[in-house]
């Protein structure tokens, strides 16, 4: 991808947009399903296997000491389930943001290097929906049909703590071991990366519309607290409750660390947001993009990259002074995978900074790989990225220091969070 900085902007939207778009489509599905929704609520638990329903809490499992080393034989094809437009693409695939065999330089290079085929499918549009397709096999201990999957923190945590991920043989992934960026290390649910390596990350911060705020004579927000000074009618927070409450915790000067956050902290966030609701505050997903465009929203909690990709110079993403929320999509090898060694090779391959830079330069998310920034810079040597955009891809050190991962919550905390969020959102 030696394109300008304009062209790859679109893909960046798709990952989150799909997330939201499917939520909407889900509404339709639920419409059809709502009458039968009750029918599944069999007393005694809706789940076939009780263990499948229980979301395990901390601590994470201790890795088995004696793991049989993976036989180092390349087998294939590698079955890889991925989100749409989440890898570097060329040609019409890049234009349509839809992978077709042969369209991804990274995959082609992998195939050539290891002489193995890759069955890469953009099968994940939503964590929950995808999980539903593999969960029965995982419970039953049967192969899911995938060798490599990419899922967001909270789901990765769930899959790993249930023991449904294959342990990664670290001797097979030297690039991962060497190049994983430090802030992404030490997740409580897999502190030593025995079961996962990050694919890409994104951040949640604030966005505002320059002209709207200027005409209303409001100073652009620099801190989350500034959002509380804006007319709630002209503002939206996120319907992803983890994001809204995570930022709310930061606003209140509380720790946004699932290990330390208490139900009282969440209640405090709720109480801080609640007064804004009668004033007209709304909770949205990516729709804030349309609301910004229609000048209905002046400022909002937003996901990094969305505004940069909206194409309007009026809309600005801000790293709030209090900090940002960080979320990561992670590569896992699900239990029962057939081509484990090949999957490890792929993990290792995409942690080569040259490859990671090539991917980052297309998908425009935060690469987890050290050195990818240098590669992206050199790829764009002829037309350097705008500094603001580059900061989105490779957040500066002061931003990284204030990133918080508020994804993996205990059952109790999650229930509290959902209840409090619903009270705000009116549901």
């Amino acid at each position: 991808m030696s394109t300008t900085d304009q062209e790859p902007v679109l893909p960046l939207i798709s990952r989150r947009r799909f997330l939201q778009g499917t939520a909407l489509a889900g509404v339709g599905a639920f419409l059809a399903a709502c009458s039968s929704g009750g029918a599944t609520a069999v007393p005694g638990g809706p789940s076939v296997n009780p263990s499948s329903a229980a979301i395990p809490t901390l601590p994470p499992p201790t890795p088995t000491e004696s793991v049989a080393p993976t036989p180092k034989v390349i087998t294939g094809p590698l079955h890889w389930a991925q989100w749409p437009a989440y890898i570097d693409l060329t040609g019409t695939a890049a234009t349509n943001l839809k992978y077709s065999p042969g369209s991804s330089p990274t995959l082609e290079q992998f195939k050539a290097k290891y002489k193995v085929d890759v069955d890469y499918e953009e099968k994940i549009e939503d964590n929950n929906t995808f999980y539903a397709t593999i969960q029965p096999e995982l419970v039953a201990g049967a192969p899911t049909g995938w060798d490599l999957i990419v899922i967001t923190d909270w789901l990765a945590a769930k899959v790993i703590t249930k023991g449904w991920a294959e342990q990664i043989d670290h001797t097979n992934v030297p690039n991962c071991v060497a190049n994983l960026r430090d802030p992404l290390k030490g997740q409580v649910w897999d502190p030593n990366n025995d079961y996962h390596y990050p694919w890409q990350s994104g951040m949640t911060g604030m966005g505002y519309d320059k002209t709207s705020l200027a005409s209303a004579k409001i100073a652009p927000p620099v801190s989350l607290a500034d959002l509380w000074k804006i007319d709630p009618k002209k503002m939206s927070f996120l319907s992803e409750s983890r994001d809204t409450f995570g930022l709310g915790l930061l606003k209140l000067g509380k720790s946004a660390d699932p290990q330390q956050t208490t139900a009282d902290d969440l209640q405090a966030v709720h109480d801080a947001i609640k007064p804004l609701v009668p004033g007209g505050l709304t909770f949205t997903g990516n729709e804030y993009l349309q609301n910004f465009a229609a000048k209905k929203t002046w400022a909002a909690m937003v996901w990094s990259g969305d505004l940069a990709s909206s194409g309007s110079a009026d809309q600005v993403f801000v790293f709030p002074t209090e900090g940002t929320m960080l979320w990561t999509d992670n590569m896992l090898i699900p239990k029962g995978a057939v081509n484990i060694y090949t999957a490890e090779l792929m993990m290792n391959f995409v942690y080569d900074p040259a490859i990671a830079g090539q991917i980052a330069n297309f998908v425009y998310y935060v690469s987890p790989v050290k050195g990818a920034d240098v590669v992206v810079k050199s790829l764009n040597a002829s037309a350097p990225l705008a500094p603001a955009l580059f900061d989105l891809l490779f957040p500066p050190a002061d931003v990284i220091a204030k990133q918080h991962n508020f994804q993996f919550l205990s059952d109790a905390l999650e229930t509290t969070l959902n209840n409090l969020y619903l009270d705000l959102a009116g549901g």
Binding site: S35, A41, P43, G44, T282, D411, G427
Partner: protein, 299 residues
């Protein structure tokens, strides 16, 4: 064994097979329907009721404890949403009637050779998904959308007027989405009316209004009943319009049920709310049916 004439045998052996089958016919014909209701209505209802008196969590399973806690929560916590449902559902039903009756009347009595075409036009929007239609309303009603821009240009509305996120938007969406459910039953009822009955009323010195009130309306009652029921019940439970066109202030009971079931996994409260809603609808419909006079409703 082979020879005797059938009539003789029949006379000796009580009711024949044919007679017995004849008696059972209504039940046999009903069987598929009853089976359907059993599997898809009665059983789920029983299950849902049992869920509503259970306690537990999605993760650890629900246990039947015959607890009434879910009903207490349902009845105490969601007053505003019940209120919204009743007001929005009721208003939308009234509006569909006010809008739909003239349409149905015109098609039935003045449609002429355009009848089928006009009916098609009523149903045409249904070829598009419910969601798409509702999202289109969102586009229409946006602050910068065509409707508000036009009204602002006419200085009917102040510059900062907003409809999205208000009850008006939600009611408008529901009204639009359920309009055909009102028009079609009304049309069927009005179409059956013999115009000569109205002529007769006029001949007997009834004014046009008098004939309408004393002939047309009573004969159309079954259609009015069916139309209002078909509109009011789904409108009461609707949540899509409130999600797409409303705000946190305009959520309906359907939204609560949806989020309890799907987001929170709080099945007992969701089931209890569904039951309360069902009971409320039953009561409302039976009062309504009695007020209209049930004997007229079968046409």
């Amino acid at each position: 064994m082979t020879g005797p004439s059938p009539p003789l045998r029949r006379g000796r052996t009580g009711p024949s097979v044919r007679q017995r089958v004849g008696k059972a016919t209504p039940y046999l014909l009903l069987a598929p329907g009853i089976l359907w209701l059993m599997v898809f209505f009665i059983l789920p209802s029983v299950q849902m009721f049992l869920t509503s008196v259970s306690t537990g969590s999605l993760d650890n399973g629900f246990k039947l404890t015959w607890s009434g806690a879910a009903y207490v929560t349902s009845l105490t916590k969601f007053g505003p949403q019940f209120e919204n449902s009743l007001i929005y559902g009721g208003t939308a039903t009234l509006l569909t009637f006010v809008i739909g009756f003239p349409v149905a009347y015109t098609i039935a009595f003045r449609g002429g050779r355009w009848k089928n075409f006009l009916l098609f036009m009523v149903i045409a929007p249904f070829f598009t998904s419910f969601l798409i239609r509702t999202i289109s309303w969102k586009v229409l009603l946006l602050d910068d959308g065509p409707v508000l821009s036009f009204l602002r240009a006419l200085h009917v509305l102040p510059a900062d007027a907003s409809v999205i996120g208000t009850p008006i938007a939600v009611i408008a969406g529901i009204t639009y989405n359920f309009l055909p459910f009102m028009i079609l039953p009304l049309y069927v009822a009005l179409e059956k009316i013999d115009p000569s009955l109205i002529e007769a009323a006029n001949d007997l010195y009834a004014s046009r209004w008098g004939a309408f009130r004393r002939v047309t309306i009573p004969l159309a009652l079954p259609g009015i009943f069916a139309g209002t029921i078909l509109t009011f019940i789904p409108a009461l439970g609707d949540y899509v319009n409130a999600i797409l066109l409303g705000s946190p202030q305009t959520q309906m009971i359907g939204n609560v049920i949806q989020s309890r079931f799907l987001l929170l996994g709080d099945y007992p409260v969701a089931a209890a709310l569904s039951f309360i809603l069902m009971a409320a609808i039953l009561v409302a419909v039976s009062i309504y049916a009695r007020a209209l006079g049930t004997e007229q409703l079968t046409g």
